[in-house]
């Protein structure tokens, strides 16, 4: 197992380096001096030249890449062109919001998804099963912006239950978290249902029942414990994609998070900010997947022994 994990770790480091290089190249293919583009036509040539030197953009690409990489390792992502503040500080501030949003979304998705999944599996082909599976299908096929705007319209605008947008206490995170978690809730419930149905047909479940255990006990102690294995892995992957995929939700609810920062960077053609947010989000996904892999091999004794 150890060897397997080390192999995965090396792979992740390689992918991270590749991603960093790709981001660097993509942001630099755009023709023209980014400083000049950002400052507009009427900027003073001397100022442009001074700022170009200040941001190190007059150096050869190799030097720039080395600087950016060594900075990123130390947590220094340069200074934002448009906001004039260190990118790392901006991201630290934004990450708090994204983290809160992602965890609430995950919580919503898992609680709803697992509950519906269990009920659907136990009442297989029943009315509740059909209802939940229909809903989960809606969950996985509704675009995020649609869910977000519907929630905003109904619960914030019409019913005035919750704030429409902005960050003002935990209350303002409820609607965004539901919007963001909606898709995941759908996929979690489908996965829980299908795994549980498969497991409920296993011999050891019959044995447990034959021994006279109560239904509920068999379900919780024997079936659910085993069904959780793929679900936990999916959750680990989901939390990283929730963290990095909140762009739309953050935009609609005006939450100052990493996603909104990235959109802001694109609109302002702010390369250091875009570079930082892109690298950061991707790193989260890669590390999340790595952890999911490790978690799986730790949790599943079959894989643990095999490797």
């Amino acid at each position: 197992m150890k060897q397997n994990i080390i192999k995965r770790l090396l792979q992740a480091v390689f992918v991270l380096l590749g991603v960093a290089l790709l981001i660097f190249i993509m942001l630099r293919i755009v023709p023209g001096n980014p400083i000049a583009t950002m400052m507009g036509e009427h900027a003073d040539p001397a100022t442009i030249e001074r700022m170009t030197a200040e941001f190190g953009l007059d150096q050869p690409a190799i030097v720039q890449f080395a600087r950016y990489l060594s900075g990123a390792v130390r947590g220094d992502f340069g200074t934002s062109y448009s906001l004039g503040r260190p990118v790392a500080a901006l991201m630290r501030q934004a990450f708090g919001n994204t983290l809160k949003l992602a965890f609430l979304a995950a919580l919503f998705a898992w609680i709803l998804g697992i509950t519906c999944g269990i009920i659907a599996a136990v009442k297989k082909n029943g009315l509740l099963d059909r209802l939940f599976m229909g809903l989960s299908l809606l969950g996985v096929s509704m675009p995020v912006f649609m869910v977000a705007m519907l929630l905003q319209y109904v619960f914030a605008f019409h019913l005035h239950w919750l704030p429409i947008s902005g960050v003002d206490g935990l209350k303002s995170f409820i609607l965004p978290a539901i919007a963001l978690g909606w898709n995941s809730a759908g996929s979690v419930s489908r996965l829980v249902r299908s795994t549980l149905i498969e497991i409920l047909q296993e011999d050891y479940i019959d044995t447990a029942r034959a021994k006279g255990n109560r239904q509920m006990g068999v379900l919780l102690r024997h079936a659910l414990r085993n069904a959780m294995l793929p679900v936990v892995t999916m959750m680990a992957i989901q939390i990283s994609s929730l963290l990095s995929g909140a762009v739309i939700t953050e935009t609609i609810f005006s939450i100052n998070g990493i996603g909104q920062l990235a959109v802001q960077a694109i609109n302002g053609r702010d390369i250091p900010l875009l570079q930082g947010t892109a690298l950061f989000s991707t790193a989260i996904v890669i590390i999340g997947n790595l952890l999911a892999d490790c978690l799986y091999s730790v949790l599943d004794p079959r894989i643990r022994k095999e490797a």
Binding site: Q11, F14, V15, L16, G18, V19, L22, I23, M26, L27, I29, V30, L137, L138, V140, S141, M142, P143, V144, F145, M146, M149, L150, Q152, Y153, F157, S241, S244, G245, V247, I248, T251, I252, A262, V263, I266, N267, L274, A278, S281, T282, V285, I286
Partner: protein, 304 residues
């Protein structure tokens, strides 16, 4: 040569292969079986077909223009004259939906197809040739898949700039990697089959084996992948356009319509919700059809 020497297949494998080939069903047999077994998939196919027809015959289906403004009729709710209401310029929403479906469907199909061709080509090459070529292609795929797909699309759009053709290019570049991974493993599985071994033994050229034996057998997988990738292309495009990074005015796509309507959400919610619902419907239809196709075309995936 195909890299390492293959061990002879066990006798049991032989039987399994034969039963797999069995009475060879033609494509149309399979489609007939799909129609019989999966009504939902058929219904989805009809829905998709209707959307395609609507996109083609848009000018004949509506008396209105999709770009001429009618300022006296701004933001009017759905009514007899305007079935889905009008937008901030007084334009009929149904008309704009019909014209928007041209872009949205094209964005669903074209980049998926391009990404598929690229991914399939690289995947087959990687799987059949193996060695260093395989390693290089797969490492590039790893890096591409390392990105959250929405972020990668945003980055490429930043580099290329907005517009229809750039969206197509971007989505193709986002799509290819996962396709190449799946096709590669399929190609590796196929090249271990006895008929490939036999073809190789009688001296058939590698290129011919690739075209005649490997590629046609990858087709079922590719068809299923295609149907299942179309909705994700549509969703990514609509998200990009929603953020203002995708399709640009005066082109119209459903995602852009959602974006434009967002500022009127509280006075005219139908502006955003109608195109959102259309996106959802098409995505659902493609997902159902893809699931149905997978069940008939690719039975060994069903059990996985």
């Amino acid at each position: 040569m195909f890299g390492k020497k293959k061990k002879l297949m066990a006798a049991g494998e032989d039987v399994r292969l034969k039963s797999q080939i069995g009475e060879a069903e033609t494509f149309w047999d399979l489609m007939r079986r799909l129609a019989k077994e999966n009504k939902l998939a058929v219904f989805s196919a009809v829905v998709i077909l209707l959307f395609i027809l609507a996109a083609i015959f848009a000018p004949f289906l509506t008396p209105y223009s999709y770009k001429d403004m009618d300022l006296l009729n701004r933001l009017s709710p759905p009514s007899g004259a305007h079935l889905l209401g009008t937008d901030e310029g007084g334009r009929d929403i149904l008309t704009r939906m019909l014209y928007g479906s041209r872009v949205s469907l094209m964005i669903g199909v074209l980049p998926t197809l391009l990404g598929m061709i690229l991914g399939a080509a690289l995947g087959i090459i990687a799987g059949v040739i193996g060695g260093k070529t395989d390693a290089i292609i797969m490492r590039i795929a790893d890096i591409t898949l390392g990105f959250p797909s929405m972020l990668l699309a945003m980055l490429i759009m930043y580099t290329l700039g907005g517009g229809l053709m750039n969206v197509v290019l971007t989505l193709s570049l986002v799509n290819w990697a996962s396709v190449s991974r799946i096709v590669r493993s399929e190609a590796i599985r196929l090249k271990q089959n006895e008929y490939v071994e036999a073809a190789r033994a009688i001296g058939v050229k590698k290129r011919v084996i690739l075209w005649r034996h490997i590629l046609p057998n990858c087709l079922p997988t590719l068809i299923v992948l295609f149907t299942l990738n179309v909705p994700s292309s549509i969703l990514t495009e609509s998200s990009l356009s929603f953020l203002g990074l995708g399709i640009q005015v005066p082109d119209a796509s459903w995602g852009l319509m959602v974006n434009m309507g967002r500022q009127f959400l509280y006075i005219a919610p139908w502006l955003s919700l109608v195109p959102s619902a259309a996106i959802m419907l098409v995505v659902l239809a493609f997902n159902f059809l893809g699931d149905g196709l997978r069940d008939v075309l690719d039975p060994h995936q069903k059990n996985q």
